[in-house]
Symmetry: C2
């Protein structure tokens, strides 16, 4: 899989991981705390965290036996940038097409603005 963006998207393609991110946005948490709501073993959750960590979405520090997980919000920018870029491009194209269509029909009907 290799590249960063792929890892980030893949990490968020799993509902459990997405839910963990959502909860971590509110506050840091330990592995067992995170595992509690889900019907899977704590080992499975540990694996999920590894995925999130390798995607750069979370970081873990050590605190006695506990290992608090912290959300790294900056990584979201990577996605947002990518998404917004192409969305904007596609929407502009849509608007252009819209303009063409309006121009074509507009010569007869004269409709003014769209939204």
């Amino acid at each position: 899989m290799e590249d960063r963006l792929s890892r980030v998207f893949a990490a968020l393609a799993d509902p459990i991981r997405r839910d963990m991110v959502a909860r971590l946005a509110a506050d840091d948490a330990t592995v067992t705390e995170l595992a509690e709501p889900y019907a899977v073993t704590v080992q499975a959750v540990s694996k999920h965290l590894k995925v999130l960590e390798e995607a750069g979405l979370v970081s873990r520090t050590r605190q006695a036996q506990r290992r608090p997980v912290h959300l790294e919000a900056e990584v979201f920018d990577l996605m947002t940038t990518w998404i917004e870029r192409y969305r904007r491009e596609a929407e502009q194209r849509y608007r252009r097409l819209d303009a063409v269509l309006t121009a074509m029909t507009g010569t007869e009907t004269r409709e003014e603005e769209a939204s």
Copy 2:
């Protein structure tokens, strides 16, 4: 996998699919056109398109034997909404922490609340 958001994220976790989306943002294209730059068979690309379609990222119409692919930009909103929501939350928390730290060092002698 089931849910929409998972499918969208999973779809974009693949570099080829992401590249196809990027190209489709510029203009609609047929399957063979899309396949051309990649070192995979056209069948593989057809499969990728199926994934993108099931995620609601693209739609296909029929035009003679050709089957032009069109990007559906609206789906991006789903992701952006999700991402922005939690990023904002996490950043606010960061700012709160920042404020607490500033307050602590700023007053120095007066520690009242813990957290």
